[in-house]
Symmetry: D2
Subunit: 339 residues, 4 copies
């Protein structure tokens, strides 16, 4: 950690601050410039509260040298993490994990039909929403517990592990009892810290979506919340960020995939469906995601998108999904991967 | 609601769509342009799921004519709402409500000292955090239940109603039993819909902070979630949005205050402390907030900001607060208000 | 164009407005909802100034049905445009155009060396900056006229057409006389309308970079400025937009490539070097760009990036470029293209 | 300047880099942490190109200690600058400068009528656009030279200095000859560096609007471009930035006013008309701007906004302007200013 002091900082303040820091077991290198003084802290700076130091009137800037996350950092775990989902499915290795399914679970027929189609096309996991975060209280909120049952049943029939979103810690028991394979934390709950702690206490794989306006660092800090409770099975999911551009629902940030894989050992998957909100963009951006190194993709597939109860605009049909899988199978080896 | 169809939309689709819409009790005005066809829906369009219609391949755009919120809308409640906090304090009328106190409750002495100082300066409510949402799992997370007790005690001693943040619905019982006067939903939980529903089931005043990247419409929809459960005692709080500018922690959006008061009858307060993260900006922006019509302000005040356990950088001292109150007392009458 | 009027709009205003609109040769469909009135304008609405209509106090919203651009719109030119650069090079067809070269031209040896290397690797065009837009007046501003000469000479020797940025219309004569093949308008000048008009009066291919915070519509309107003057040889270039994320210099928006190709017939190339500012991200994002359908890529290549006078951080070496070209050659056919 | 090196940086690189830096007359303090090495550069670091250093693969981060601007910095000029406009008008002192007038100059009657009205209400300067930057090539582009004449004539008759926008350096002669008092650089040209240099060669006061997505630092660097040419008469103008919120045309960033006055000695005025695009927001945000310390405001006033050729939606009437001036006259003394 580096502390840059303002011009004309009184000597007493410098003394008080350095004494305070040294009392916490750190060493300090002082560098006096023409006008400003710079303190370099050497040692375990996690004992220093950056915001508190930033609060002193004489402090101009505080710059971190080390990253604020540990368990999520590649420095502490240089090899790529491979998350074991069960049923022979992993996320993070050579094999690209494809998760597909409808936005909302609607009926047993619907979810089982889609499950069968995507399994035939080579998907590794079935996704589907039972608890739906909707902007409006008047929109369809999901089939809830009943939907969860349908999803798990459909997954078993199609021999696909299932991934679905949790919105509240009090549903965790049901998720565990029903046998959900991967628990998703949605973008709007990325900084719902109580929920992060709760899923951190399980050992289930967690799919952590990036918040709509979360920086890469904040996203990794949310992963750290889960890992700090002991659950290291975290899969990150880029799903578009909010920008000034409104033509697409969000702006897919593929450079974030590279950034996260650079800074962290955790696997990253990409969700082009929510990122764009437009069905005709999904396949091309899925290819782009694989081309730039994503460890998996998550795609909304619906057997009847025009009558979907939710997000039909961005769902592709099973036929479009099958065609996409064909392209990805050709593309993956070019970037050293397989599907 | 207006539906704009793409060029060359087949007649059968138009027929199918209009039949579908009419079956829901709506009337349709069709307007054929040179290349595009426009459907104007007349009636209660809340029965139409906009996202589903947007999902049809032949649909170019769907434009809302009516706002998607009702209980929060000024159309349905033209007069300003005045929220009664108890103890003679209201938010939303002629009198500007000033809420002040430390970011975190640290000790009984600290919170009681600050409470006494701000009461003397004329504050209407005491704020203080017991449950703290922090980006890092390694940062101070608040004194939790113990902090809540200290706050309520301090409020009683200083005869000030108290406002404090809830992070999880399972703490609601404690908040109610302890006698918290206003329950705050923080920016990161603005779309934690399960939490919104839970506080909506109480009749306590709720202070709903705007999310870091929430549009004005999304913010009002979150208010609608609370109101749809029957709790109409909602106070909105603008606290800065995330933009590309990083010099300030966030960008305070004062035009949002005007926008929200235009579209909704709910009162709006402004938090310049979190918006800027800089102590020396707080007083000037508080004046700006009052000058443009805010119904209240929320200010972080700490008796020893340089040693605050949290957010010291943005806390002002009791002396600075007293001086600010003096200025606001002069300023308020110029814009037709009082403090 | 659709005009939505506010509740309680007086009849006289509606009459005045409709009379005014009809006097311009348009027809109006009036649709009265429960609370609001909607006017649908049929005919050539380009005679209506949208901002002026938006200005009336009784007008709630004005929604465009037709796009505001014509010459740039795919509606008016359904086939993809293929821009002929000369020397057998085209942009926009099946063949993906790769433009490469240093950020700044520094010496004849440097630019000729890079030109030779990229030509050997299969690049189609040589890029290099002679006039450099720099944030600081104290940074290197380019070799200017002398640099232009070096670039053109290097291009001729390597048999590569050249592309370089113009910053001021008064340099247009020199660009034309020297034989620059493609004139680049930089992101910061995307709405320098006088410059757009000036290059619109030539018939040279123009590479129009997207502004840092330009919407897709504004970008196409800037293309329209050039085309309205008679120059239809416009190539668009996505180079990242400004968002809240600061880890990358900008956020590359690949969904914009799809959006622009959907709405316009103009070819789009992608510049991953400026988008990220990080050398190690360039190749992976170049692959992603090709995978999702870009018509070309623009890459900064420097023979000695660590000593580059400008933007060394994002330049790759000729060896890295050659390896990238190898990957792209494999990848292109999978998406129906070739290099 | 501080350079943070990555882990495992080889000794030879550190030696090469430090030798290189010392050869430029700087001293280096080296601080070795547990995993990373930090170099503190002492001396005139303006000789170091930050981007070049950032380009080395072993460099993790480069942090500036000193600001990159000099002439614009308060460190080099602690007192507030007061810009003399002529005719007894100044910007930057105790007196708040109010600039008002129509978006576009339309007829002599229009501009003279508005000039008379705003002069009577106490405005200090007359604004009006003769050269208009418009998103669409098909929108009204201003009366150009003829409009300039009308504006100057109107200013003389009303005894008000005039301010108007320049879009191209080749019009500078006309602006100077006609006697324009303040030359405005619009938001879209804030980084049109050739135009900045051109107006920097004059000694006329320059009103420099903030770019739509310009950081505070970039804005000050653009002021530095003008000042580096010798023209220190720069007035900054905050006019809203582009964010995800679309309800207002832009988001007015009043904290930027405080930030700029903190970092620079240059005066700052606020334009609430362009920031919001909504007439009914203008007066309240003008009050907020004055309340938080702006040195002036710039307001669009039109005698017949509903028929304005440009931006009528955000223009207020002379009567509304007169009322606003009355409020500001009461408000200014409370914050130690006068009008």
């Amino acid at each position: 950690m580096i502390i840059i002091l303002k011009e004309n900082t009184p000597k007493e303040f410098v003394n008080k601050l350095t004494k305070n820091i040294k009392s916490k077991g750190l060493q300090i290198d002082i560098s006096k410039g023409a006008r400003k003084t710079v303190l370099g802290l050497v040692g375990d700076t996690s004992v220093i509260d950056r915001e508190q130091v930033q609060g002193y009137d004489y402090v101009d800037k505080v710059v971190r040298v080390e990253e604020p996350y540990k368990r999520a950092s590649r420095s502490f775990h240089p090899q790529d993490s491979i998350i074991d989902i069960g049923g022979g499915v992993t996320v993070g290795g050579k094999k690209i994990a494809v998760m597909a399914g409808p936005c909302s679970i609607e009926t047993p027929d619907q979810i089982e039909g889609v499950a069968k189609d995507i399994a035939a096309a080579g998907a590794a996991m079935l996704r589907g929403g039972a608890f739906k975060p909707r902007t409006s209280p008047y929109s369809f909120q999901g089939l809830r517990d009943k939907g969860l049952d349908m999803l798990v049943t459909a997954g078993k029939k199609a021999k696909l592990p299932v991934v679905t979103e949790i919105m509240s810690a009090d549903k965790l028991d049901v998720f565990l009892k029903d046998g959900v394979d991967v628990i998703q934390i949605g973008a709007r709950n990325m900084q719902n810290f109580d929920l992060l702690k709760a899923v951190g206490k399980t050992r289930k794989p967690i799919l952590l979506k990036r918040g709509l306006c979360a920086t890469i660092e904040e996203w990794l800090m949310s992963a750290e919340y889960i890992m700090a409770e002991g659950n290291h099975n975290v899969i990150l999911c880029e799903r578009g960020i909010r920008t000034f551009e409104t033509y697409t629902r969000n702006t897919l940030d593929l450079s974030a995939v590279l950034a996260v894989k650079h800074k962290s050992h955790l696997p990253v998957v990409v969700d082009p469906s929510h990122a764009t909100g437009k069905r005709w963009m999904v396949a091309d951006l899925a290819k782009a995601a694989v081309a730039c190194g994503a460890d998996g993709i998550m795609i909304e597939v619906h057997n009847d998108p025009d009558n979907a109860l939710c997000d039909g605009a961005q769902s592709i049909t099973p036929d479009m999904f099958t065609a996409l899988m064909g392209s990805l199978r050709q593309l993956a080896p070019i970037v050293g991967r397989e599907i």
